[in-house]
Symmetry: C2
Subunit: 205 residues, 2 copies
């Protein structure tokens, strides 16, 4: 399915739908409508129907969507019908919080390894994971066949570490460093920077 060219903005909404559907399922709900789903996620019912129709639809006129089946379909489309091993680069506050975060495992991700370049941190544990030296990063990532990294280093280190990650075979980077990074075309990047999100809101205040 993912060979068809779907606009990234639509791809970006699918995890939101999936999250809401999982929440409905946890409450033992079995079916939903584009109206109800739309109210939950703040997106119009028409938009949801249009988005899902890109992948074949899934719903039935009048009866709506079977939640279980739609969850399965969305997980397949997003390639999270498997568990991805993930590396955290940087064991500061954010790296710690991510490594300890319980919310990844049922959404397709498991943090397998954590790196830092600070000798005071290397060898210490976060949960079950021992913080590794970034000196051994490239080998360790290749050996564990990890292609997804969360980058929580400083802005000044971000590009250098990114280049190392790309060389080590990383194909997706979730960047928490407050700076844009440059990657080759085969690598995807998403950004999490609370200040940019806050500034997007203060515009309206």
């Amino acid at each position: 399915m993912s060979t068809k060219l779907i606009p990234d903005i639509i791809v970006g909404r699918l995890p939101i739908y999936l999250r809401a559907l999982r929440y409905m399922k946890d409450k033992n709900q079995e079916t939903t409508s584009s109206q109800e789903l739309g109210e939950n996620v703040g997106i119009s019912a028409a938009q949801i129907r249009k988005d899902l129709s890109q992948f074949g639809g899934f719903g039935t006129q009048g009866t709506g969507y079977k939640i279980d089946a739609l969850i399965t379909n969305l997980m397949e489309i997003l390639n999270v019908d498997q568990v991805w091993n993930v590396a955290v680069i940087g064991a500061g506050d954010i790296g710690h919080a991510l490594t300890r975060y319980q919310g990844f495992s049922d959404r397709g991700f498991e943090i397998k390894i954590v790196f830092d370049n600070n000798p005071d941190l290397i060898g210490k544990k976060i949960g079950d994971l021992v913080i590794q030296s970034t000196d051994t990063m490239a080998n360790a990532l290749r050996k564990a066949n990890i292609v997804i990294a969360m980058l929580t280093v400083t802005a000044s280190a971000a590009q250098k570490v990114t280049d190392q990650l790309v060389d080590a075979g990383i194909k997706a980077i979730l960047n928490y460093a407050p700076i844009s990074i440059n990657v080759p075309e085969h690598v995807v990047v998403q950004y999490i920077d609370p200040s940019t999100h806050l500034q997007r809101m203060t515009y309206y205040l």
Copy 2:
């Protein structure tokens, strides 16, 4: 300037431009071009010129942008030529990391107060801030005239706490809880959920 109706997608790019310009300024650079800025942030030069033209332009044909002036203009447009007091709701790992984060102060934000409902946490300190009880949240927010909150509570508590925040006069919520929240029209919401960002990338893997 903010009375003109600008598409939110453009508003969302301005903090990215501002962040890159600040980084250039920190390196003592004085001028830039839409080409250079575009390469830094991964957005085309044409798009940047088009975005900035919505607000009057700022650049000069041939000489480009004066970084200092463009920073000042963007800060005014985004309303971060002032410092906003911010509340953190939830003093778990993410709440801790945000409260201790050093990257807010020079981007227009200062965390002034932290709340939790866990008696084991209330009264403890994160840096200089004493964790307050959510029971006192509404009064404390009104008294401190805080209109921006970062929400790091559980998914199951998120909507209830959101309703309390809206009642207490909060106008902007950065939601870290992994669930969509419903707010009245005068309240703006942004979402940070690493799993949805990761899933947006695994689609392409």
